[in-house]
Symmetry: C2
Subunit: 174 residues, 2 copies
């Protein structure tokens, strides 16, 4: 609804300026980047306690169900990449979800190394009920920005994301 920008610094930001304002730092970049972390953590907590807690699902477990819902059965390594976690962590998450009967593992007959992961019917029901509630919360939070602002926000974050991915390969020789 509301569209007026709010450029007042957060209390934490003001404190940082008071303490470090004299140092030669790029504060403009600092506000942009650090607020990505601040808002990410805040939104995640909000979702965990308001949407995920009733089903006793952790954030990562929820993302795992979501990924399997969108992609269908997939190899474990691709699952890890899609969720955004390491392979060892993916093993633990899959074990947890398997223990709750939401996910199933089976070996690939073609390649004995591979493990294929998929939703069980119970897991499918869970995510199909949960995700609309999740998206409704996203929508409610985003409604404090205009549609144009939401698009601009997504676009700028994509630019940042692509910058990181390129920079991530650099530094070394690769």
């Amino acid at each position: 609804m509301s569209s007026a920008p709010d450029d007042r610094l957060l209390p934490a930001e003001q404190k940082i300026l008071d303490a470090l304002g004299d140092l030669p730092l790029d504060f403009r970049a600092m506000w942009a980047i650090s607020n990505v972390f601040r808002s990410s953590a805040a939104i995640r907590r909000h979702m965990e306690s308001n949407v995920l807690a009733p089903d006793r699902l952790s954030w990562t477990a929820f993302v795992g169900l979501w990924v399997l819902w969108v992609w269908g059965e997939m190899e474990a390594r691709d699952f890890a990449v899609a969720v955004g976690i390491s392979r060892p962590t993916a093993t633990g998450v899959m074990t947890t979800l398997e223990g709750r009967g939401l996910v199933a593992r089976r070996k690939d007959a073609r390649d004995g190394r591979m493990v294929l992961v998929s939703l069980t019917p119970s897991g499918r029901t869970t995510i199909e009920h949960l995700f609309p509630r999740f998206n409704a919360e996203e929508s409610a939070l985003a409604s404090h920005l205009t549609e144009e602002q939401q698009d601009a926000l997504a676009s700028m974050l994509r630019s940042l994301l692509r910058a990181v991915e390129r920079s991530g390969r650099a530094g070394g020789f690769s």
Copy 2:
């Protein structure tokens, strides 16, 4: 430097549209919010491996040093809030940092319940050397956006943040 917006969807976003495009979801809000998570995780990893890894500091440990640098000696509960973690987690982080000689704990003489946390000289040296490198990376990443975009990004994220904080208290009175 570059200022052209990039509205192409990420591969993951395109896949989501293919799989769920027919459902009545708010995709605009979804792109805005989900890209906050994506970019946050990507930047965090980038910082961990390119800036923090040489000092064998975790992200949270770094934020802890940074908070103590900005605020000076503080009560443990305020430390937890400023870092953005629970009190039990703060206990663990302080123990780890104390074991590395970067942080010191002492009891408050006035109130026997309180614990006061502060940087040791070694911890102070660490953060004073580390943070400029961290900020230089922030600056490099943000340079893919114009100054106006950086300001707009920070402003929109603050709006989001304030929306979450109000919504978090909701169901209540204030």
